[in-house]
């Protein structure tokens, strides 16, 4: 089960960031390579994993991704909360406002809704872990593109924290993959 700790994992600062960033940042909330995809992918794959290592790492990284989801939500929330409707329109957020006012929603940078088609669970541990490795690399790249899109040092700092976490997750999934393949090889011998 999950317990909620009432604090962010890392400070979410938007400094002097442009309101336009909200439209781009939302892709890490509800987009294909964002935190919701990551959390749901890992937390779902864990049920069909064969070893304690893989059940553990998918549970723990999946849980951490929920904490990252909250950081992205906070960044967007802070950017839009005091913006006028005119400012939202000018920043390309008019369509979002029409559907959601300033509420957050699980969409990509173009407003496409999140879909379970972004994730997979084949039930084959190797296939699933390789998908997870790819997912972490794609998330890392997306954070780099978001960092490129902003001049605000505070926002860059928060995004860089999230980017570096993906690199660590990639490392852990790589280790889990090696261990699962060893486990499968051992089963064949005996």
């Amino acid at each position: 089960m999950w317990i909620y700790e009432k604090k962010l994992q890392y400070p979410a600062k938007v400094g002097r960031a442009n309101l336009k960033m909200a439209k781009y940042l939302i892709t890490q909330y509800g987009g294909p390579d964002g935190e919701l995809s990551a959390a749901l992918r890992y937390l779902n794959q864990r049920y069909s994993m064969p070893t304690n290592v893989t059940k553990g790492i998918l549970t723990d990284i999946g849980t951490e991704e929920l904490a990252h989801l909250e950081i992205i939500a906070t960044l967007v929330y802070k950017l839009v909360k005091d913006a006028s409707v005119a400012e939202l329109k000018a920043a390309g957020l008019g369509s979002h406002y029409a559907d959601h006012d300033r509420a957050l929603f699980y969409v990509d940078a173009e407003g496409n809704p999140w879909t379970a088609a972004y994730i997979q669970a084949k039930g084959d541990p190797v296939a699933d872990l390789i998908e997870d490795l790819a997912a972490e690399k794609k998330a890392e790249a997306t954070y780099q593109w978001l960092i490129d899109l902003t001049d605000d040092p505070d926002l860059k700092d928060t995004l860089n924290y999230l980017r570096v976490r993906e690199i660590v997750h990639f490392q852990r999934f790589g280790e889990a993959l090696d261990l699962v393949q060893e486990h499968q090889a051992a089963k064949k011998i005996f």
Binding site: Y4, K6, L8, P11, A12, D60, A73, T74, Y77, H169
Partner: protein
């Protein structure tokens, strides 16, 4: 949020982060005794800092029991409302 409160919260985040990193590492290296010792030490430090924070400023977990006549768990600011 008060400067002092924010500083304490940041210290908790830093220690908690150390614990999380060790947690993930231990998931794929479950027999690393040294890492287990480090993990236990960081959790103890986390609990020490948390106890100070919760007593002064209120609950971080719903199971944190604090003095008061009202249900402090729902009191603001919520994490997305804090000026970091």
């Amino acid at each position: 949020m008060l400067r002092e409160q924010l500083e304490l919260l940041n210290n908790i985040k830093a220690v908690e982060f150390t614990a999380l990193e060790l947690n993930l590492y231990l998931d794929t290296h479950p027999t690393d005794q040294r890492a287990i010792m480090d993990y236990n030490a960081s959790v103890q430090e986390w609990e020490r800092l948390r106890a100070i924070y919760v007593e002064k400023y209120g609950p971080l977990l719903p199971t944190d029991i604090v003095e008061g006549s009202s249900w402090r768990w729902i009191e603001g600011p919520w994490p997305w409302e804090i000026d970091y």
